[in-house]
Amino acid sequence: MRLVTAVIKPHKLDDVKIALESFGVQGLTVSEASGFGRQRGHTEVYRGAEYTVDMVPKLRVEVLVDDVDASDVVEVLVKAAQTGRIGDGKVWTIPVEDVVRVRTGEHGPDAL
């Protein structure tokens, strides 16, 4: 199994969710995140004083998938989250040793 983690632009969440659902993903976890990449931050002005805000708000989407699906899920996710402009985010995967469904106690791929 693998954990697919994506950091995306907040307004792309619906596109990503719909694309993943139609691929067959059963669930995902979303959390608010902030950070910067090449996009860097932006400048705000309050009563004439300029503030550079380094951290840009993003969403972190996490999906647990079977090994065989991992590269397809990444592809679907990238396609759905893409705007082509700087700041679209990143997607990466890491191996997962075990997964347990809390309700039933099932382990491994059955718990996905």
């Binding site: 002005v45 309050y46 009563r47 300029e50």
Partner: protein
Amino acid sequence: MVPLQSAVEAAPLDSGITAWMLVSASLVLLMTPGVALFYGGMVRTKSVLNMMMMSFGAMGVVGIVYVLWGWSMSYSSESVGGVFGNPFTNFGLAGAITDSVGEYILSDGLPVVVDVGFQVTFAIITVALISGAIADRARFGTWLVFTGLWVTFAYFPMAHMVWGGGLLSGDGPFASIAEPIDFAGGTVVHINAGMAALVLALVVGRRKGFGKEVMRPHNLPLVMLGAALLWFGWFGFNAGSAYAADGVAGLAWVNTTTATCAAILGWLLVERIRDGHATSLGAASGIVAGLVAITPAAGALSPVGAIALGLVAGGLSALAVGLKYKLGYDDSLDVVGVHLVAGLWGTVAIGFLATDTGLLYGGGGAQLVVQVLIALVAVAVSGVVTLVLAMLLKVTMGWRVTEDVEVAGIDQAVHAESGYDYGSSASGAFSPGSRRSTTQEVPA
């Protein structure tokens, strides 16, 4: 304002005036929660409650002080050298609101007790305005003591001098040049509060990180809501200061609005040219700058004159708020740039724009001279009194919370609360009833 003891046998009760003044008093009282929102939105998340509590705390202290000795010091018939009224003459409003047979004392058709209510609200808002200069860092207890002392030694004397028949009124020495005009409180309220803010910011000192860290407003919709409530309440402040439901009140209402409209544009124009963006904080600040500037002038200008006054007020304050970074004083929410600068402008501009006596209306320079004089006296009185009180409190109670508390956020340490609950992830134990709070010392 109304001379007090002339009353009993004069005009009978005027229910129209009385009704309007009760409404006006209520409107002006609403301004202080309005200031709390205006300032509260401008600070960071970690200190929003303390910022708002400085206004609400001022309401608690000043409302009581006013009834006990504030009215007597402002308007009692026993003036001490034209500087303040004897605080004991009408202590606790004794002898001020009813006569010997228990009838309500009237002054030009208005029961004096209604005037007391109206005046309480002015004293409260004036001291609340100062709080923005020392956001995020002041001990709450010290602030509460300051509010009581400051209204006693700075506000009540100014109110007496300008409105209570004292040195700066039509009965004072300047009146031989021209009668000083301060319709609703340019000197008593705004120069007074703005100068106190400057002194307090200097005595209390800068916030940690001032001029280096990002200290942006955490909730601008709150700021705009506060500005809207201030504008609404200001109708009581200015139109109520006509002490009548008549044409002068109507003129003050219209002038208050047009000056404020123009000040929004004045502020935004400066921002657009200087910074490239017209901001919502600029619009909200322009509203307050316009309201401040028209306050002393509301009954003396034409509506077109009010447009000119407001336009300049907005632009001037937009330029003035940058001074603190150049000069290095941390007037955190720009009480100086808005209230002192626009208050001075409004008071002095009467000398140019008053339709009866202004320089631009062919009235000569006498009014202008007098307006400059009363503005300078207000600056001096407020500056000296505030300096003495602030230094006294600095060496006795102390002004600052610890640096750890300031960094972690004053709300949790001082009030044991958080302004916002961002989610359900907070876990812990609950204990009904009071355990003496353990959050007095917050780790950095």
